[in-house]
Symmetry: C3
Subunit: 312 residues, 3 copies
């Protein structure tokens, strides 16, 4: 297997590498359920979380993943960043790399910024924690780990519903589906679909109900309220919810083996009804839990510290 | 003794449990005075500080308490929280709980939010670090530890002065006084007293000087400048200070055995004169020091790691 | 040698103390280049970064320095500080000192605030991480360590160019130059020079090109765009760059042995051309790397934990 040196996106990964990360991730799930949630795996490693967009969930997940493996974790948020003083993104990244972290976890609004930065940051591995509408690989690895724990993903149909055009999660899943042998259906109004969506070779639906039969997972994407009303595709949140929200009726249509997933944060009453979010078919909190495990796997792999020894 | 599984407030605690936390807290005071301020007590434990209101003092106190006991501590502030994206408080808390912290320390403007959240967060202990005008139990435990170090609190008279109506500290002290056998006097203008204050069974004064004789502690509460002038109870800060501020004359009236306390941050020249704040009778910095020790006790108790072993 | 108990500025230090810190700093460079970047030197020590001005670079440098030496590091930023609630700087500092950190690293806009605070904070060492336009000693120690790694600083000519009047780095270098035996030349328009600059005994130039011959280092200072245009000294950034920016022609004039330094963050195209910033003569990223090492030396010295043992 080719070693994973950076994690820019799903596009770069081979199926074998994805399988490796998932297997390693699965081995870490138990660590966060023990009374003592600590292993020495990444002792002496430095991880910097460099977040230009706020994301409590993803930043905290990486921070906990790193700390439970005994790494030193440093958080930097855009609000306090030198970019406010006119420093370029490259200079900010090179400056941090000169402090010799092993891993730089980056979230930024610019698609492709991680690939751009990597060649300039010798000795530092980069993890893409979401770059614009481009990719969000650790979320997809998280989702696959959750599916693996609930019957696997090979041959399954994941129906993703909502604001596809702005969703890096959807994009990463489309790339992963081909490699890992599952099918992605996209459901959205035309105004929330990217141009040339067909080239991904996925099925596209504008009618949610038509996409439900045969789905193994209904994967609901967050819709920003502002976008709904300002871009005029829907006169109100209520109408969006009627057309594209997951409610009890649609869940019944999907059947009781169908799982419900969401990358969070949820807008209850918009893309998902509150009783569905709390139903036994929802795997939304499992996704959060598995997210920590997958990020442990990613950090461990990039640090080259694959051996996981239990602490004395 | 019934084990303490969450710390929602003083209301929930029995006298025996309070005594237990104080005794454990006292045992931790020395740890922060040694050359090496570290014990392995909470190694492998994860503590999340989730602060929806800013509080440098309280957050830092919990953070230092956790880190000195070798816990992993993660800070989340409201400014970067997903609640800004419309996520509900319950979803935020459940998401964090799914990352399997042992303790979630919460400060929020909603009274009662900790009790509300707890049943939904299986496996995670909650500490109330201040919920609206409701309770602030670790501050009261801090104060009691300070009094214990200076002659005890049983039978003593604590005279609390200032903005009682918005004070969770006053409320928690009223609850603690009954259980622990001390007396609370409240001093405030009518506009800064809560409705039905009498039902707490405490003495209420509108004249500060009348409340001073017999007081063992003068406990000054912070008054927000905005509140003083906007709510019209006082035409100016100077007049508030004359009526309800603790100055040298009033301290002399109280006698030289009377202690001065304040939960901070102080508004010097408003509720307390600067020479009084710096006088030998002031125990304000002792409170800060004991606050770290009490929070070590609370975190240790909730983590179920009562044994404190010195580090090799 | 007189022990270093606080680091207020270069002014307080003797040459011998500076040499000591540089030698200790040099010994720490390697630590951040090893696979495992961790030593137990400051285990059990608590360091608080108290930043009233944002500085990702400096705060992160201190944080990494502390964590790699196993200290507990707590960050406090002005945005969340109690000073917003009207607390005085002294009360904030005393409150934090009562939590018994070993070191308090302070950045604040008030010149001299560290000397002012120190006598009130018994048991806590203070590091000045930049106080107004006064001093920034760890930056100067950083620069000297970088020069030491590239041929030494004794007898050398460092030509500092830009906004001298607001630069604490320039001021600290002027003080260090006398003690350590190097020469500082200042280059700036009159509007960006402090009054009575001559009393520092340095050479002052208004013409950049005239100052270049004989320079061993061209040290470019950041110029704030707002200041350039609002204070009317330059009609545009382009004209500033032509008069005082370091471009390829000026670097050629300086010769290929001349080093280029910058304390960051850079404004490319303003005080420094982008090809110069990226040239082989630039030591800007070395400065960042050495900054971590120097701060390790400062923290270790102040904590009195001079012995550096490798971790088992």
């Amino acid at each position: 297997m080719k070693p994973v040196r950076h994690l820019f996106g799903i596009a770069q990964l081979e199926a074998e590498q994805i399988e490796y990360l998932l297997t390693l991730g699965a081995s870490f799930i138990d660590l966060s359920r023990r009374p003592l949630r600590k292993a020495p795996t990444l002792r002496g490693k430095t991880i910097i979380n460099l977040f230009f967009e706020n994301s409590t969930r993803t930043r905290t997940s990486f921070e906990i993943a790193g700390k439970r493996l005994s790494a030193d974790v440093i958080n930097i948020s855009a609000a306090t960043s030198a970019t406010k003083k006119g420093e370029s993104l490259l200079d900010t990244a090179q400056t941090l790399a000169a402090m010799r972290p092993h891993v730089l976890v980056i979230r930024h609004s610019i698609a492709g910024c991680c690939e751009f930065l990597a060649p300039y940051l010798e000795g530092t591995a980069i993890v893409n924690a979401g770059d614009g509408a481009h990719e969000h690989p650790t979320q997809v690895l998280t989702d696959l780990l959750t599916l693996r724990a609930h019957g696997g993903f090979a041959g399954k149909v994941i129906t993703m519903v909502g604001d596809i055009s702005h969703s890096r999660v959807a994009r990463s899943h489309l790339l992963a589906a081909r490699k890992m042998g599952y099918t992605v259906r996209l459901v959205a109004p035309k105004t929330l679909l990217p141009a040339e969506v067909e080239r991904y070779g996925c099925e596209v639906f504008h009618d949610f109900d038509a996409a439900i039969p045969g789905s193994d997972v209904l994967y609901m994407l967050r819709v920003q309220n502002e976008r709904l009303t300002s871009s005029c595709c829907f006169p109100s949140i209520r109408e969006y919810h009627e057309a594209y929200g997951l409610n009890r009726q649609r869940l019944r249509l999907a059947g009781e083996d169908c799982l419900v997933m969401h990358p969070g944060p949820m807008n209850r009453g918009v893309e998902i009804a509150t009783d569905v979010a709390d139903s036994v078919q929802a795997r939304i909190l499992d996704q959060v839990e598995h997210g920590v495990a997958v990020r442990m796997a990613v950090l461990t792999t990039l640090c080259g510290a694959h051996a996981m020894e239990e602490e004395a």
